[in-house]
C-alpha cells in the first residue's frame, strides 16, 4: 500500500495542473483508496459549490444615492494612497479628453455664431507658480464668479439646449479641476499638475466668456 495522496496533490488534481502521468497515478490511487477517494469527492464538491455561487448580490439600497452625491460633488473619491503624482492623477486624461470633445464641438458651433472672437485668458499672461498656485487659483475663481454672474443676468437670451450643453461641458471641466486640485494638494510642488489646473481654469473661463459674448 502506497502513502495516501497529499493535500497538495489532491488540489492539483482537481485544478488539472498535474502532468498526465502524475494525474493518472493520483486518480488510480483515489479510485482504490476509500480515504483519498472521499477527500477528493469532498474537495471537488466544495470547488463546484464555489463556482456555482450566484454572480450577483443585491447591494444596499442607499448605495446609488451615495455614488451619485460623490459624482455630482465632483469629488475624486479614489486616489490611491502612497502613489506618486503621475499615478495619482492618471484618471485625468480620460476626463480631460471627454471635456475636450465637448469643448471642440461647442467651439465649432459657437465660432459660427460669435462673429468677434476676442481672446480669453487662454492667450493671456496668467501663469501659476508651483508655490503660489492657490493664490493664482483665487484669481481664476474670481473671473469665473464674475463671468457666471454676467451669464446668469443674461438668462433667456440663449437657447435652452445650448445652455444645457454648456452646463454639461462646465460640469466636465469642473471634474477635471477637482481632480487636478486633489492631486495638487497631495503633491503641491508638481509643476505639471499646476499647469494642468491652470489649463482647466482657462478652459472654463474661455467657455464662460464665449457664452457671455454669445448672449450679449
Amino acid at each position: 500500500m502506497t502513502d495516501h495522496l497529499s493535500w497538495e496533490t489532491l488540489n492539483d488534481l482537481v485544478d488539472g495542473v498535474l502532468d498526465v502521468n502524475a494525474a493518472e497515478a493520483a486518480s488510480r490511487h483515489a479510485r482504490g483508496c476509500v480515504t483519498c477517494g472521499a477527500a477528493l469527492d469532498e474537495l471537488r464538491a466544495t470547488v463546484a459549490t464555489a463556482r456555482a455561487l450566484p454572480g450577483t448580490v443585491p447591494p444596499p439600497d442607499e448605495l446609488w444615492g451615495d455614488i451619485r452625491s460623490t459624482i455630482e460633488a465632483g469629488k475624486v473619491a479614489y486616489l490611491p494612497p502612497r502613489t506618486a503624482a503621475p499615478r495619482g492623477w492618471w484618471i485625468t486624461p480620460g476626463r480631460l479628453a471627454a471635456a475636450a470633445v465637448v469643448l471642440v464641438a461647442l467651439t465649432t458651433t459657437l465660432t459660427g455664431i460669435v462673429m468677434s472672437t476676442r481672446t480669453g485668458p487662454r492667450n493671456g499672461t496668467v501663469s501659476l507658480t508651483t508655490v503660489a498656485w492657490q493664490s493664482s487659483e483665487r484669481a481664476f475663481q474670481a473671473s469665473v464668479v464674475e463671468l457666471r454672474e454676467q451669464l446668469d443676468g443674461m438668462q433667456g437670451q440663449l437657447a435652452p439646449a445650448t445652455v444645457a450643453k454648456v452646463e454639461r461641458a462646465l460640469a466636465t471641466i469642473d471634474l477635471a479641476i477637482a481632480e487636478a486640485r486633489e492631486a495638487l494638494l497631495r503633491d503641491p510642488a508638481n509643476a505639471a499638475l499646476t499647469e494642468l489646473l491652470a489649463s482647466n481654469y482657462r478652459q472654463k473661463i474661455g467657455l464662460l466668456r464665449r457664452m457671455t459674448q454669445l448672449a450679449s
Partner: protein, 185 residues
C-alpha cells in the same frame, strides 16, 4: 434581485452617454452591474460595510475612468477588473497598516475560525460556504474568491496580488482546507 438584462449595444450607448457626463445613463449602467460589483466586494472582504464602501469607490472610479474605456472588451469585463483592482489596492493599504499590529496573516486564523461560529447541519450549502469564505484570513480569502469563485488563473492572481505563483497555490490549498474544516464542523 434580478438585474435588468441588457444587450452589449444598450450598454455601449449608455457608456457613451455617461462618458459625456450623463449621470442618468450612468445610473442605468449602475442598475445593470451593481449586483455583480457588490458580490465581488462582499466576497473579497467578508464585510458588508467595507463592501459597500469599496463598491462606492469602484463606481466613482469607473465614472472617472469612463473616458479610458476603449470598448475592445465588454463593459462588464472592464468594470469587473476595475472593481478587483479597487478591492486589492485597498487591501494592500490595509495590510500595510495592519502589519504594525499583526505580524502575519496566520495570526488571524484562530479568531476568524472562532468568529465563524457553529454552522448548520448541512455542509456545502451556499449560505454556509459564503459564511466560511467571509471567515477566511484576508489573503486566503482573496485567492480563493479570485480562483474558485471568479475563475482567475494562478498566474493572473499572482500578478494582481504581487505573489509568487507557488504562494498563490499554497494560499488556495490552505483556503480550501480551512473552508472544508469549517463546513464539516
Amino acid at each position: 434581485m434580478s438585474e435588468p438584462q441588457a444587450t452589449g449595444d444598450d450598454l455601449s450607448s449608455l457608456v457613451t452617454s455617461a462618458t459625456r457626463g450623463d449621470v442618468q445613463a450612468f445610473e442605468q449602467l449602475y442598475a445593470r452591474t451593481a449586483g455583480r460589483v457588490f458580490a465581488i466586494c462582499l466576497r473579497m472582504t467578508g464585510d458588508r460595510q467595507r463592501a459597500r464602501e469599496l463598491a462606492h469607490d469602484a463606481f466613482v472610479r469607473a465614472w472617472e475612468r469612463l473616458g479610458t474605456f476603449r470598448g475592445d472588451s465588454a463593459f462588464e469585463t472592464w468594470l469587473h477588473r476595475l472593481t478587483v483592482n479597487v478591492v486589492l489596492t485597498a487591501a494592500r493599504g490595509e495590510r500595510r497598516r495592519n502589519a504594525r499590529l499583526v505580524s502575519s496573516d496566520d495570526a488571524d486564523d484562530a479568531s476568524s475560525l472562532a468568529a465563524f461560529g457553529k454552522p448548520g447541519p448541512d455542509v456545502a450549502t451556499r449560505v454556509d460556504l459564503e459564511r466560511a469564505i467571509a471567515a477566511l484570513p484576508p489573503r486566503a480569502r482573496q485567492v480563493f474568491v479570485l480562483h474558485d469563485v471568479e475563475g482567475f488563473r494562478h498566474e493572473e492572481i499572482a500578478d494582481r496580488l504581487d505573489l509568487r505563483p507557488g504562494s498563490v497555490r499554497a494560499q488556495l490549498h490552505r483556503a480550501r482546507q480551512l473552508i472544508m474544516r469549517m463546513l464539516s464542523r
